[in-house]
Amino acid sequence: MLISLRTFFWNTDPGYFQLKQGLKTVLAILISLWLLQNETLITKFMAAVASGFSMQGVIARTMISRIKHVIFFIFMYFTAFCLGLLVRDSPLGTAITLVIMGFLVNYIRRFGLEKSIAPVMAWLLCFLATILPFNHTAEAWAHIHGLGVGLLVSALVTIFIFPENYARLFMENTHRFFVELGRGVEAGRRYVLLIHKVDKSQFLNESVKIKKSLRELININQFMQHSQAFAGFEKRINKILLHQYALFNAYTMMIDAYRCLEQYNLSKQNCLQLGRLAAKFAEFFTMLDIKSDYVIKSVSPTPKNLAGLDIENISEVSQIMMLLNLKLSFDIFSQQAGSLLENDPI
């Protein structure tokens, strides 16, 4: 049940990473509010805002660099907010500070922060400090511990709650990739066997979704590839990724061939033969498993390539090409599957 729930969330559009990030942000805010439950509304407000904002922007992949990022960002956020409080009584001072900060937060992006929203968050905290409804600045300083609590809580949540485990994620992704591929091949089997009875657009929609999902899984694996979590296994990881790309391309080729299948009157025998082969591959991919040392295992044998198709009476070039491409996609499946199971030494 837990696995199916996780698969469901994986399939939701923004994905598992964003779901975790959203939940962690809410958790950080709730902890800050709970810690400051006996404080005034404005202290709680400052803590909640600080938690919510500082949860965003950490893009480091390893634990050590994540800790460095968190410490640097906390310092940056605290300084930005204090700066905002210092100038808030002077409209001109506020304007000048926001202008200079606006330049700086964009300028520092060149130091490895191109994809992080942390610098903008710092500007926003400075901006918020200038507009929060305090009667006078002294009142604001009296609530500054709210900011400290918020920043500290978010730092601890970022580091210790649901930290990204790239090694496990890679294995889960790879397993999901094979399951999705098996589902895609199975959808093709159903289509070819019920060629004139099923809705082509339904099959194509399903294929597009599967293709998108496969592409996303490869992208995430590619993103993680250079993480230090795979030290000692780089060669194997690289090989798995290479095979995933090749399998993805073969699947694309297969869908393209199926796309024009209905134009031709394929014999019942050929349809059955294609269906049988697709069933074997669908089962094979679904049963593939990846172990903790990134070794790929299968309980069913690698299916062999296409045989027994009768195309003697086919003369149309495009129909021959379609069948050839279909054959080629199964050949690539077979070759890649065999190679995947070889599991060379590290």
Partner: protein
């Protein structure tokens, strides 16, 4: 002329936008005029096309999110705990969608703002109206600054030239050597580039507002580019599997067709670079070759066991790829020559 990095340009743009926003706020003494600076800052951190797209989304979603948030605020019981709960739900939704859907992100964020302001002060339709006007003003400032002051624009021609150069290099690497390159599928990096172009498509489109390339043509171009990349990826991955099974004659033909395709890409690049050469792309050779070879070898199609049949698939993907290249050239040629 001094050359600035993009980050410096963005910094200068942001500083100028905020300065104008703050000046307007101070000069006209707007009530809650700080929204102008906030919007101006938020929209000056990307290319002009992207800023234009986000400005439209921001204005639209500020209006919609503001109205929905305000109605919710008045419809719900005036209980601070309930309001905190609503804020947390909207915070979660904002973070959940921020990377994929900027549109929805702004909608949820505006709802958060409505409830936050209600919690620490007051919120009513008058404030909502002021917020919308300020957002429009901020967006206009950001767009004007982005357009006139160190504009960060993407050059669609340069982008395509870079893309096709990469494509050509990959083709050479795969087909001009006895054994194709086996580093990480170079065409996959091409796919990554294509995804980036497609992701920025709306932004690019807005940058081309005053360009001759019409909207329909632009999306047709993207479509052909997509197909071309797809055929190339399939071609390369199948060639890696098949090249061992090709005989000498077939190998020579594949290399010849690869050379023709490379020439086609080079002619396309010449057209993009506005060189006045009047060469035309051609795919007759490859199409004729497929037809003649299929006729010659019709006997071997009786069964699909022979590995050498892959030769026809390779030719087929070359033919399809060239078809797409010609379509791209036809689309772009009129615009460039004019």
């Amino acid at each position: 002329m001094i050359q600035f990095r993009d980050t410096t340009k963005m910094g200068l743009q942001a500083a100028l936008s905020i300065a104008i926003a703050e000046f307007l706020n101070l000069y006209f003494n707007f009530e809650k005029g700080y929204w102008i600076a906030l919007t101006a800052m938020a929209l000056t951190t990307q290319t002009w096309g992207e800023s234009a797209k986000r400005a439209l989304e921001r204005i639209g979603m500020t209006i919609l999110g503001g109205i929905v948030g305000t109605i919710m605020y008045f419809a719900l019981p005036a209980n601070p705990h309930l309001h905190v709960g609503v804020i947390l739900i909207f915070v979660f939704l904002s973070v959940y969608v921020v990377k994929n859907t900027h549109l929805m992100f702004i909608f949820f964020l505006t709802c958060v703002v409505v409830f936050m302001f209600a919690l620490i002060g007051k919120w009513n339709f008058d404030l909502l109206e002021k917020r919308i006007v300020d957002t429009i003003l901020g967006a206009l400032i950001a767009l004007c600054v982005g357009f006139f002051f160190f504009p960060l624009k993407r050059n669609i021609h340069q982008l395509l030239i870079f893309y096709f150069n990469k494509m050509n290099t990959i083709l050479i690497g795969v087909f001009n050597f006895p054994v194709p390159m086996t580093t990480r599928t170079a065409s996959d990096y091409l796919n990554v580039d294509l995804q980036k172009i497609k992701k920025e498509a709306i932004g690019l489109r807005l940058e081309l507002l005053f360009h001759r390339l019409s909207s329909t043509k632009f999306y047709q171009l993207l479509n052909h580019l997509d197909n071309c990349t797809k055929y190339m990826s399939t071609l390369i991955s199948s060639y890696r599997l098949l090249y061992r099974h090709l005989d000498k004659e077939q190998m020579a033909m594949v290399r010849e067709i690869a050379l023709d395709t490379e020439k086609n890409i080079e002619i396309l690049l010449c057209h993009f670079k506005k060189n006045k050469e009047n060469k035309k792309l051609s795919q007759e050779k490859v199409t004729n070759l497929i037809l003649s070879k299929i006729k010659q070898n019709s006997a071997c199609f009786g069964h699909l066991k022979s590995k050498s049949l892959g030769f026809f698939s390779v030719l087929h993907f070359f033919a399809k790829m060239n078809e797409e290249l010609i379509a791209i050239d036809n689309l772009m040629h009129g615009d460039i020559s004019s």
